[in-house]
Symmetry: C2
Subunit: 265 residues, 2 copies
DNA sequence: CTTGCAATAAGTTTCGAAACTCTTAGGATA
DNA sequence: TATCCTAAGAGTTTCGAAACTTATTGCAAG
């Protein structure tokens, strides 16, 4: 039970923490520069941030995935056991999630998962569409070869899962979520407006929480998604202005189907 | 040396009425609250926010006011002394400011005040204008008598300071900042889109940091501001659609003048 | 049965110390 | 002089316990 020596459990997994509000140019585009093997490097790769930042990613993912249902009370006694981290570290991560809108904090009553509603979904959808359309337009205007290539790669990676059978897709849903996010990030990666990317990212994660509902309850026209993604990808790479319209339609259709589910509540 | 009893220094009156610029130093009063087991003090006053949330406001205000210059390292040894709070509490507040974009965090290197730049100002300005224009339009469409009245009141309160002489205005600059914020909040208060208000607020505070630069360095056409505010107020209350155009011009002029200052850097 | 009110339990918030990391200074070696 | 190694110092990150607050229970009185 007791742990006399504090050992920062540094598991070597490469799940790097990408903050939803990541501004910096920590893009995956960066080519790894090989360093001389004889020299000692202060840090191997990009700073796999401290366990606190890692926790932020895990907590947000668990809320997005509805591991914690909306309005669930987040008790520290439960959280410390689940994540194996101290109270202070947990408070720090939860505070950031308050700023991002995933968690609410009432003085003296602790933290709760933020509620969901049809109205909230409608707002998030509208803002996300507005951000992503503008970011995509700017990205199309400014993107270079590397940007194009990354989109094609991300689309292919996503398509591998979308072409699977229903059962297999459900089994690898975690992968789908990750690759879907990377695909949309690749589309807008060349946008030079850092704040626009930041705001887009904020809304993306909010919407992802609703998006997960659709996967949990029912499957919505699976093959269609893949077709839409392809059309968006092709129009974008062709620098076709109608890419933004396709993107809007793609997002809105998904949100509308989710909104229908929420009405039952 | 040790302090066996933790006494939350509870200064018994309104704490946040005027955000005093001079917070540090030895200003902490030593109020001894004897805790008798029988006597309970349930109705001391309306319990204000926890000291942690209060700290968040103070820290943000100090960054906005350039009490901590951009890119300043925020050392806990300094902060604990200045705010009289523990490290954990400070980390919690700083984490939220990271999410809001006021502070950056590098693993192992601690917190720093986020940098400012001409480009960042341009982005923040554009987003803020877009948000506020939409929020104002929706507010005009949905506002009721109470909303109108609040705007008129906020404008009057702001005008009292703007009509003062230059020296007097500078002396009460803290009041001006507060009332200016309340005026703009009143304008959009009837907007039903919660996320739009949230995003607007985020950009407002970012812009306020830049706005403070203009006051610190030089005065920019003082009487004009008041005229603009009046025009915006009147158009809004009249539900005139050109209110948004006036608002945009008002914001952009301010930002442009600040941008000119930043170019020297 | 309902209400009021202690006493207890459950949970939150704060704090400082210890573990850990990064930087810098000093000195030895070639 | 330049380079590398070590150690001390400064600063950060984490953790759990103690102080504090809210919710629940138990019990007596109306």
């Amino acid at each position: 039970m007791k742990n006399p020596v504090r050992l920062h459990a540094r598991i070597g997994n490469a799940t790097c923490a990408q903050s939803a509000i990541d501004i910096g140019g920590s893009g995956s585009l960066n080519i790894h520069l090989k360093k001389s093997p004889k020299n000692v490097e202060p840090r191997d790769d990009d700073a796999s941030l401290s366990s606190g930042q890692d926790l932020l990613t895990r907590l947000r993912a668990d809320i997005v995935k509805h591991t914690f249902a909306p309005e669930t009370k987040l008790k520290f006694s439960d959280l410390t056991e689940r994540y194996g981290l101290g109270i202070g570290t947990l408070r720090e991560a939860l505070s950031q999630l308050v700023s991002e809108g995933f968690v609410t904090l009432e003085a003296g009553k602790g933290f709760r998962v933020a509620p969901v509603s049809r109205r909230d979904l409608a707002e998030v959808t509208d803002h996300y569409i507005a951000f992503e359309k503008r970011a995509l337009a700017q990205s199309i205007a400014a993107g270079d070869d590397e940007w194009e290539t990354r989109i094609v790669a991300a689309f292919h990676s996503l398509g591998i899962i979308e072409d699977l059978s229903w059962a297999e897709r459900m089994r690898r849903h975690g992968d789908w979520v990750e690759r879907h996010r990377l695909f949309h990030e690749a589309l807008v990666a060349a946008c030079p407006d850092r704040w626009l990317l930041r705001l887009r990212s904020l809304m993306f994660y909010q919407l992802e929480r609703y998006r997960f509902l659709s996967k949990m309850n029912r499957e919505n026209s699976p093959s269609r998604k893949g077709t839409e993604h392809r059309a968006i990808m092709e129009a974008t790479v062709a620098r076709d202005a109608k890419a933004t319209a396709l993107l809007e339609q793609h997002i809105r259709e998904t949100s509308d189907s989710i909104s229908g589910m929420l009405s039952k509540t």
